[in-house]
């Protein structure tokens, strides 16, 4: 493994690669800084740009964006009490009070160091576990892949939505949309209605940009339309003195950093648990273990370290199921799968075998990106703070134009621009009604994999779907699926209703 990693460094340590890592991290931080825009928007918008790059540079660039956006989101959380995205919500609890005490840069530095540490720890776990996991996954046949796919759908639907049925409904719609286009097995047309743009299926680009980026920006724009004052909050100027973190202060945070990195990595390894959950778990664990838990929420550095290390540690670990099974852990990993596919690499058990050099090159790039993140993030703090002064209406409106370009450039198709707006409308509806965008997107992305393995299973085992319960490796996954259906579909709702009834009784 060490040898392969050294070879990976040899492949990855080029000027172009380093340059795009720097650019990726800077863009990630910038997009992360802008509340309501965020890293997912940056990722969806810039995937088309990577068409013109070598695969390793493209993935390194996108990973740079993911890493940068997580720490970038902490900046508005600290300065404005307005987190860049939901994963930084917990950072406001101690970041904003510390900024109010006149130490915003201290809080931002702690957030950055913790974020880089979380990323690094998670990347190390990824490098250690990806190959053994992929080796196990290689033993999986179509029945096992189908069972794993069903487990992933249930887990993601259960954890991303408050009701399992809503999550599964969004996933089913995503799978249905993925069947449009030419049938991969027979080459016949499926629901293309004679439209040439649909022969290759619904464009991943149009769907991702419309559903994830454009709908988010439009939702923010509508909010600004209704409440223009809220869109123009700016950070207060602050005194540059007393912004350094002393060794004693940092040392006190070390146990928290380790604990949160471990929590974030574990959460990241399981599909669907999400970055926000990791941040809150990290914060909760730090508070429970603290000798002075009452100080949390008043501007404690440990609170910032706990959330930022945990949310950043999800990034690398999320790639373990992505690389080993082809199943993304969250939306960022799902977008990376899209980028892998665009560059002719199919994520899954065979990825390590077929593209070993590329994968280790990506691992090396991830480690390099952590060092770059530290330098770019630290040196750029004044710039990131300055970018918060650009009025939100200007940023959001310009992002819409960038969305149009992001779809048009690779396809030169007005149809795809129209399709992007259709998905933006769908995304806006789903955002406002609590349907999971993650489920629909992952359903769309995993649909072909599930179809392929399900069809193979049906052919191999004479249409006997119950083989999923008789194959020894598939059985545990199916039992887990049934367990999660019971837990998220019946047990959790019943518990929530009981809790609601108790609260209602108390208020009477």
């Amino acid at each position: 493994m060490i040898e392969q990693l050294i070879e990976g460094f040899a492949v990855a340590f080029t000027f172009a690669n380093l340059l795009f890592i720097v650019i990726g991290i800077a863009i990630g931080i910038l997009f992360g800084v802008m509340p309501g825009v965020g890293g997912i928007t940056a990722l969806t918008l810039l995937i088309p740009v990577t068409f013109y790059m070598a695969p390793i540079t493209a993935i390194a660039f996108l990973i740079g964006i993911t890493k940068g956006s997580t720490s970038g989101g902490a900046i508005p959380a600290i300065l404005l009490n307005a987190p860049g995205s939901s994963e930084n919500v917990a950072t406001t609890r101690d970041g904003y009070p510390l900024a109010q005490q006149g130490k915003p840069e201290k809080a931002m530095r702690m957030a950055l160091y913790s974020s880089v540490w979380g990323d690094f720890a998670s990347d190390v776990v990824l490098i250690l576990l990806a190959a053994p996991f992929a080796a196990i996954a290689l033993k999986f046949g179509p029945a096992e892949i189908t069972a794993v796919g069903m487990l992933a759908f249930t887990l993601i639907a259960g954890l991303s939505s408050d009701t399992l049925a809503k999550g599964l409904l969004a996933s089913a719609l995503g799978v249905f949309l993925s069947t449009i286009g030419l049938d991969k097995a027979e080459g016949t047309q499926r629901m293309t209605f004679g439209i040439i743009d649909l022969y290759d299926g619904i464009s991943l680009n149009a769907l991702a940009i419309g559903l994830l980026a454009l709908s988010a920006v439009l939702s923010q724009l509508f909010d600004s339309w209704r409440d223009p004052i809220a869109a123009n909050i700016k950070p207060k100027p602050y005194n540059k003195a007393e912004q350094n973190i002393t060794w004693a202060e940092f040392k006190a945070c070390i146990p928290t950093l380790f604990r949160s990195a471990y929590i974030g990595t574990f959460v990241g390894m399981l599909p669907g648990l999400g970055v926000t959950l990791a941040a809150f778990l990290g914060y909760g664990a730090a508070k429970r273990r603290s000798k002075n838990p009452e100080e949390f929420g008043t501007g404690k550095l440990e609170g910032i370290a706990a959330t930022e290390a945990a949310n950043s540690a999800v990034t690398g670990a999320n790639l373990i199921p992505t690389i080993a099974l082809g199943i993304p852990g969250n939306i960022a990993a799902a977008l990376l799968i899209g980028a892998f596919l665009i560059h002719g690499v199919t994520p899954g058990p065979f990825m390590m075998q077929q593209h070993g050099a590329l994968i280790y090159g990506i691992f090396a790039s991830m480690l390099m990106a952590n060092a770059v993140h530290l330098v770019v993030g630290r040196a750029g703090i004044p710039i990131w703070v300055l970018s918060l002064r650009i009025p939100k209406p200007i940023i959001l409106s310009c992002v819409i134009v960038l969305c149009v370009i992001g779809v048009y450039v690779p396809s030169s198709s007005f149809f795809e621009i129209g399709l992007m707006f259709v998905f933006a409308v769908l995304g806006y509806f789903m955002r406002k009604t609590g349907f999971s965008l993650v489920c629909l997107f992952i359903g769309f992305l995993l649909g072909p994999l599930l179809e392929h393995s399900l069809r193979q299973t049906m052919i191999l085992y004479d249409n006997n779907i119950f083989v999923l319960f008789t194959r020894p490796v598939a059985l545990p996954f199916m039992l887990l699926t049934l367990f999660f259906v019971w837990r998220f579909g019946f047990y959790h709702p019943a518990q929530k209703r009981k809790q609601r009834a108790l609260e209602a009784d108390k208020t009477k």
């Binding site: 047309q189 629901m191 939702s219 007005f414």
Partner: protein, 176 residues
Amino acid sequence: MNNNISAAGSPTTANLYSGVIVALLGVVALFWLIPEFVTGANDTSKNLTPGFMPRVAAWCMILFGVSVALAAARVLFGKEKAIVEESEENEELSFGRTEVINTLVLVILSAIYVSALSYLGFIIPSTILLVFLIYLTGYRNKYVLVLVAISVPISLELLLWHILKVPLPQFPLINF
């Protein structure tokens, strides 16, 4: 993260409508779209036709759509207490009159913009769109507004065409 229960525009009402709509979409797919528009879907000589997976997905849409709608109906008829729902995107959960108007505005504006792109090229519709959006969302500095609205589309066009050699939709009479 609003989590109201059964008022108009609440997640529960939206769940009822969306569950019914998606279930109906599943029925339409199953009985019309797949038999008519999936080549070979009705071939009885084959074990697994190209219509297999679309049918599986359509059945799932019906099943989960009905179950979401039924759960919402039980809450609306007072047979069950609603579950407090929170947005994974940190948004206010509500789909009432405001959101319907927003959606209509979005549909109309996007239709006009996409048509304008094909007739007038990238720069003119994008400039108008930027002026409109920036002004509507509360920014009132006219000079900056006009400067941004003109410079962003022009610089993007120049960047993409002259540096990356990627053409954007062109106005028939103006070519940079």
